[in-house]
Assembly symmetry: C2
Homo-oligomer: 214 residues x 2
DNA sequence: TGCCTTTCGCTACGGGTCGTAGCGTAACTG
DNA sequence: CAGTTACGCTACGACCCGTAGCGAAAGGCA
């Protein structure tokens, strides 16, 4: 949750206030909702949290790091209940993800920190660790379920399975983000149905063809 | 190219310098390469272009609008030569798009302006008009070619065709962007082959199934 | 209990960017 | 030539950044 890996053996001295941590992250989300990314300032967040600006800088080096931590927790709400079929599972998680992207705090923050990360390798790693990689579990779980149901063939070679998982993840997350933020059109039932049909159909075609390329 | 729709009947007075326009946009791209989005300032661009800062503000209201115009022209390089099959066409355009996203000026600018556009409706429209919508031609052309070749069935109902075009566009653009900027892994031959196989397979499955849902 | 360490809120600061205003000059029109 | 608009230049108030220094607060430890 906090930025620095616990300060080297900070067993002595006054401990960091966990209330301040929570207040700052909450204030950051509120500021994102009201002001958006570009107009959010460290001083404003400090004021909302009832905290000195220096307290923010003791924990996070800059705005990007703070916002990543403030938003990351929202992504842990995503779940993948077993709905009985691969296609139903895909549709459900896509709709969940879309609802998350509709929230103003994530909508305005996500693209901004990714943009920033193209010039900031530590930030990119933080985003992956705090947000991206943790959601790949959904793809893994969905694929394994489909294999158990017999909707997808059992694993052929491991590298290909991992590569396909990564591909599906990029396709789903990328398509939803692009639809919601770039095309700025609704990620609604009909669209999700089309996307799911395309994916499930594509996976099925690759499976029946048995081509090593897919 | 320029920001304002030609100033209402500006037939009189000194005309805008087209050399300045070109110099500013070129300077903006150079600044993006060297500094990235967040450290790019209007004053810096003006200095590089050999132009007064006020001249920039006469043309563009803020950094985002300027950068959109500076980057938009790069996207017109995308082409779709007929390579004989739907899959080959898809692979080719994906690789082209990936190469474009590898350039530092587009990589750092694209996500940033999209992020900004979530709180700036005019900017969003500008992005769509200058960049996004103009590339949908590639999807249209590719689909029609595939239909002529018999790889895809002829149009059923028009709305469904348009919706599928939009879906394919979001999937391809979104997946490539996500792979390149979020996952930060290479959009190379093997990955593109997998993506193309997934798409072509999915489109084929939907076609043979003849379901109205896809 | 008293000492040490670290964090706390607060204030203040230099440095930088923003976006605008005002000026005199340059360029083009009729 | 008069009228109009764009130009370069300078200067400005406003804002935000990130840091430093201060005394006070809150823990650990002997």
């Amino acid at each position: 949750m906090c930025s620095r890996t616990n300060p080297r053996s900070s067993r002595t001295g006054r401990p960091r206030s966990t209330e301040a941590d929570a207040a700052i992250l909450e204030a950051t989300r509120a500021a994102l909702v009201e002001l958006g990314w570009s107009k959010l300032t460290m001083g404003d967040v400090a004021g909302r949290a009832g905290v000195a600006k220096t307290t923010l800088y003791r924990r996070w080096g800059n705005k990007s790091e703070l916002v990543v931590d403030a938003v990351a927790v929202l992504f842990d709400e995503l779940e993948l209940p077993d709905l009985g079929s691969l296609r139903a599972d895909v549709e459900h998680v896509v709709l969940q993800f879309a609802a998350l992207l509709e929230r103003p705090e994530t909508k305005t923050a996500l693209m901004a920190v990714v943009a920033e990360s193209t010039r900031d390798e530590p930030l990119r790693r933080r985003i992956r660790a705090s947000i991206v990689d943790r959601q790949k579990r959904l793809v893994l779980e969905g694929r394994m379920r489909a294999q158990r149901r017999g909707e997808l063939p059992a694993d052929r070679d491991l590298p290909a399975v991992g590569a396909t998982d990564d591909l599906i993840f990029d396709v789903i997350a990328g398509a939803v983000v692009h639809r919601a933020l770039v095309s700025a059109e609704p990620v609604d039932g009909p669209w999700v149905a089309r996307l799911s049909a395309l994916l499930v159909g594509g996976l099925g075609a690759a499976a029946t063809a048995g081509t090593p390329n897919a």
